[in-house]
Point group: C2
Chain length 250, copies 2
DNA sequence: CCGGTCATTATGTCCGGACAACGGGAAAAG
DNA sequence: CTTTTCCCGTTGTCCGGACATAATGACCGG
């Protein structure tokens, strides 16, 4: 068996995934603002069973894009109710990241680095000796010069070949990773904490040392449960709200 | 049509819900620590179809209680990987709250109160004039005298009759509401923010004024989308981590 | 002892069908 | 005109079946 970094996706995703992607694009383009098609219509239009349609719609619902009511039908959720997509339960990471409200981030490479001393319970068996591949960047909303986030991203050593091919200016390292290496997210754990700003963070975010900062640490695992990415974000407490919603699925 | 506050659940929940509750109880009791039954076994044992079994397991998986792998089978997640149930995606709220690590909270009634001035985007059409029914309490872990949370809970005016029957010492107002009035959670939105401690919050949590505090504001909507509860929690930044995990469902 | 092959078994995907529960509007009753 | 009743369309629940795909261990050949 040859061991090589997989650089292309081999099998195509299941049909409900494709359908979910198709519908997500249309929803975000405003196609169904007036009226969302019924399950039966989607079955006929895409020539799939109701199971497939419902499985796709279940995802869009979990993402907060649509609302469904028995007897009434399916409607597109107003953008206000969607929360910040940047920090939303993740289903199709690549596409989801794109509708984060016009914020931009460009990363710079940090090369191989030691993981910062993180008191994260999710880390588990990660060897402290390993050096991960780091990136860092400031995220800003279009008009505002004050950054909304200082983010550091670390990828597992085994992804070094893929990381070399990343386009740092696009801001969606994630989507690229999915495209380039076919890495799928299976589970994400995150720790959220309110901490005082360190000197450096305060400088970068335009705060005073000691001011409240929201720190979000995320551990991304692939479908086999292997940790492949860690991200650490610092947000200014005075102008950042981590907004999310949870749909109880039924 | 007579208008009356529903005080009993009339219809019984769907089968997959019952099965999920049954299995959840067993998992939390440690029944399946060694080996979790297969779908086929559950089908036979409970005399339901595979659809029903999978729908139940899907919920337990979303709660982080079990992990499923194609080809391998289903296993119970170690408690460490479950995150803090208190702050977890909510499926069966009543039962879930009970396995929050031994923390306790006893509420005191605030009576009818105005909603505090919350800059929450999710509020929507709520009339500021209405008076909601408020409760407040401090949450502590068993051994530690320093509270982990100062929580205020507000229920919609229409639930006044139900609120009068609540047992404030049990700490699971939610489960009681579900039992008493059959109120089911359909959607939860939450805002998380890092803010400086006010004088009062600092006093209650044992901090200094201005210290970082994690504030979590939740809006609970029922299945019809009506807002029926708002909770505001303040957590000390130096000893509280909001830990959660997200399973990508597939 | 190592490595590859294969059957077994588990979950994942997908289908078709059936009925229930709910919402909303139209029709009927007052 | 108001209220109630009824019908119909939509989503929710549940069933049985079929095949695909992944993990595992047993088997076998080197």
């Amino acid at each position: 068996m040859t061991e090589s970094v997989t650089l292309v996706k081999d099998r195509e995703p299941p049909r409900y995934m494709q359908l979910a992607g198709e519908l997500r694009r249309k929803v975000l383009s405003g196609n169904f603002a007036a009226e969302f098609p019924t399950e039966a219509e989607l079955c006929a239009q895409y020539n799939v069973s109701r199971f497939t349609v419902r499985e796709a719609l279940r995802r869009l619902q979990a993402e907060g894009l649509i609302a469904r009511r028995r007897g009434s039908g399916t409607t597109v959720q107003p953008a206000a109710a969607r929360g910040n997509a940047l920090h939303q339960p993740i289903s199709n990471v690549g596409e989801l990241l794109q509708y984060a409200l016009g914020s931009r981030i460009a990363y710079q490479s940090l090369g191989r680095v030691d993981l910062p001393g993180l008191a994260v319970s999710h880390l588990g068996e990660t060897k402290a000796a390993e050096q991960w591949i780091g990136f860092s960047g400031l995220r800003r909303v279009d008009g505002d010069p004050r950054p909304l986030a200082m983010t550091e991203v670390f990828f597992a050593p085994r992804l070094e070949a893929v990381c070399a091919a990343l386009d740092l200016s696009s801001g969606t390292l994630f989507a690229q990773l999915d495209d380039l290496a076919g890495i799928n997210v299976g589970k994400v754990t995150q720790d959220i904490q309110a901490i005082p700003a360190s000197t450096e963070v305060a400088r970068l975010l335009g705060l005073r040392r000691g001011n409240p900062v929201l720190r979000v640490i995320r551990c991304y695992h692939d479908l086999e449960g292997r940790l492949f990415e860690i991200s650490v974000s610092h947000h200014p407490g005075d102008r950042f709200v981590y907004s999310m919603h949870i749909d109880v699925e039924d």
